[in-house]
Assembly symmetry: C2
């Protein structure tokens, strides 16, 4: 086990210090969970240009700035954790389980641990080798389930093929399932008149961005592209809880652009860079891009650039508002993990 | 406690006897759960006539005969139960919990008990008074949860207002939740790569009717009207598991007919008699009507007639196929309860 620790936190701490004396509001409840398991879509050569679609030339879509929204949420969370610590001497703790050596998993965990550190959430990391057994992994999860100082548990996905992901997720206590992937939490998210203990973070981030941007959801036509448990499914369910009329588009959908171009709100979890073209969008739609892809780019310093599912250059000419990639849903998703962990701790401390 | 017992079973038993010697196939796995909790729709004076909609005058929609499909399923279930009994001397048992004196609840229970009796499923009925406490109800459910001779438990809904329906459903063991309303089963239904132990019966009936009628689901546009846990929600989730492109329409949807008229498959759980007019349908759509309403009718012998959500006379002129009410989804839904109970018993007997 190791404790997550990072640099560049100094500046953030200064901001936090200011926030502690200026932000009296408690953190509202949000969510987290950014491991993308995209649907299997076939990449096509569709140019995205469809006759009859009007690209406005003057006005570009408003950019929904996830970075600053995420920062604001984190400042509030940090402030609330600080107050709880002062009042009762306790603080939230997140346990992270990491199996194997996938570079992307290590990067995600690094980002999560850094974010925890910034807001005052303690962390405990269990690293297991790539070839570990299911029993070994279950044992680690059990220990975190039983540890009363741990309020949230995340098992970084994907797992190596010898491990049954569904079985492991079933094993995480629903009371500490801050990723919101346990079927009990998913069922309570799906069902009317019920509230899950946790909602998957990317979906909570999506709704947060819409609400903060003043987008009315009730009665609107929403199309979610993708059905993964991490993004597409819970986002469809959550939009429905907010009374949107939701259509779910996936790899088996014929002519998906005929459905997406009717949507007031479009959420993409398609998993292919630039798949969603301008012609897929209705004039004035709000676009939430849940994709994050590294695309080879020899002209870039790192040899790649980061892009989303949506062809941004085309979309901004049609949409009313859009999340950029990077700097859109991603940082808010991390803030939602912090928020879920804080909420869980408050329940444990009997403060919620 | 009383044992469910009915008349008019003699004829059925004769048919069963024949089936026992003629039907070698084991029962396939289906589902159950027919308590309709409709969305709150506003009744309107929409005539349902929209310019541009073509009503064919010659050809009427094919009637999807739920009654005969239900009978076929029940014969197979009875045959399988008979074989199990002969082989190991054991049989499935369904426990039914009934609170209060609602006439419709008593009617539903009567139908379910009769169906159980016909196929050889034993029953145990616990009746509690209208003013019973939650503790008393929980105690009864616990007893059934712990009874190894009980394989399925249904708590007839709705419950009196002093009882928390969600809390009671949570209390039913997911392994005996033959209605499929437990959030754990609903979550597993919602999530890709998972299978719930039970799927709500009305939804399973819907898919059964589609498949038996030879309707291709994969890639088709499906619209489900309604989001109740009993019908609308699980039907949306199940259609999605069969790779339909699903849109869910509800009371907050503006101009729902603009969405329904694009559907290849339309499932109605709207809860208002004759709400779905011919103009809401695409030419050649398949219509599954999940509604059952008693409409006052002085000209009828009983003072009412039974109708569905769909205006049948208009719909048959547009649709390719439609379930009638009565005689459509209803009887198959009951068969799915029997099927779920049998499946549960087979798991308990280690035959599945």
């Amino acid at each position: 086990m190791r404790s997550g620790c990072t640099a560049s936190v100094v500046l953030w701490r200064r901001m936090l210090k200011r926030a502690l004396f200026s932000s009296p509001h408690p953190s509202s409840s949000y969510i987290i969970g950014p491991n993308y398991l995209p649907d299997v879509w076939v990449q096509n050569n569709n140019t995205g240009r469809r006759s009859g679609v009007h690209y406005s030339t003057g006005h570009n879509a408003a950019k929904i700035d996830g970075k600053s929204i995420a920062q604001e949420i984190r400042l509030r969370i940090a402030s609330e954790i600080s107050r709880i610590k002062s009042a009762i001497g306790k603080f939230p703790k997140l346990a992270v389980v990491l199996v194997g050596d996938r570079r992307d998993s290590h990067t995600f965990i690094h980002i999560k641990l850094k974010a925890c550190e910034e807001v005052g959430i303690a962390t405990s990391v269990a690293e297991l080798p790539e070839n570990c057994t299911e029993n070994e992994l279950v044992h680690v999860v059990s220990r975190f389930n039983e540890d009363p100082t741990v309020h949230g548990i995340i098992v970084q996905l994907p797992l190596p093929p010898q491990l049954d992901e569904e079985h492991i997720i079933n094993f995480v206590s629903p009371e500490k399932d801050v990723d919101g992937f346990h079927p009990l939490n998913m069922g309570n998210l799906a069902m009317k008149a019920r509230e899950p203990l946790f909602i998957p973070c990317a979906s909570k981030a999506c709704i947060e961005l819409l609400l903060r941007h003043g987008v009315e959801i009730i009665g609107k036509r929403a199309v979610v592209i993708g059905t993964s448990k991490i993004v597409g499914l819970p986002t469809s369910l959550l939009l429905q809880k907010y009374h949107a009329t939701v259509s779910t588009v996936h790899a088996f959908t014929k002519n998906p652009e005929q459905i997406t171009c009717e949507a007031d709100i479009i959420v993409s979890d398609v998993g292919i860079p630039n798949k969603i073209r301008g012609a897929w969008l209705k004039q004035g739609a709000v676009v939430i891009d849940m994709g994050t892809h590294q695309v080879k780019d020899p002209s870039s310093q790192h040899g790649f650039h980061v892009t989303g599912d949506v062809c941004y250059e085309e979309a901004i000419k049609v949409a009313a508002a859009i999340t950029p990639v990077p700097g859109g849903v991603g940082p808010v998703t991390i803030s939602m993990l912090l928020s879920n962990t804080l909420d869980s701790a408050k329940r444990a401390f009997r403060l919620a």
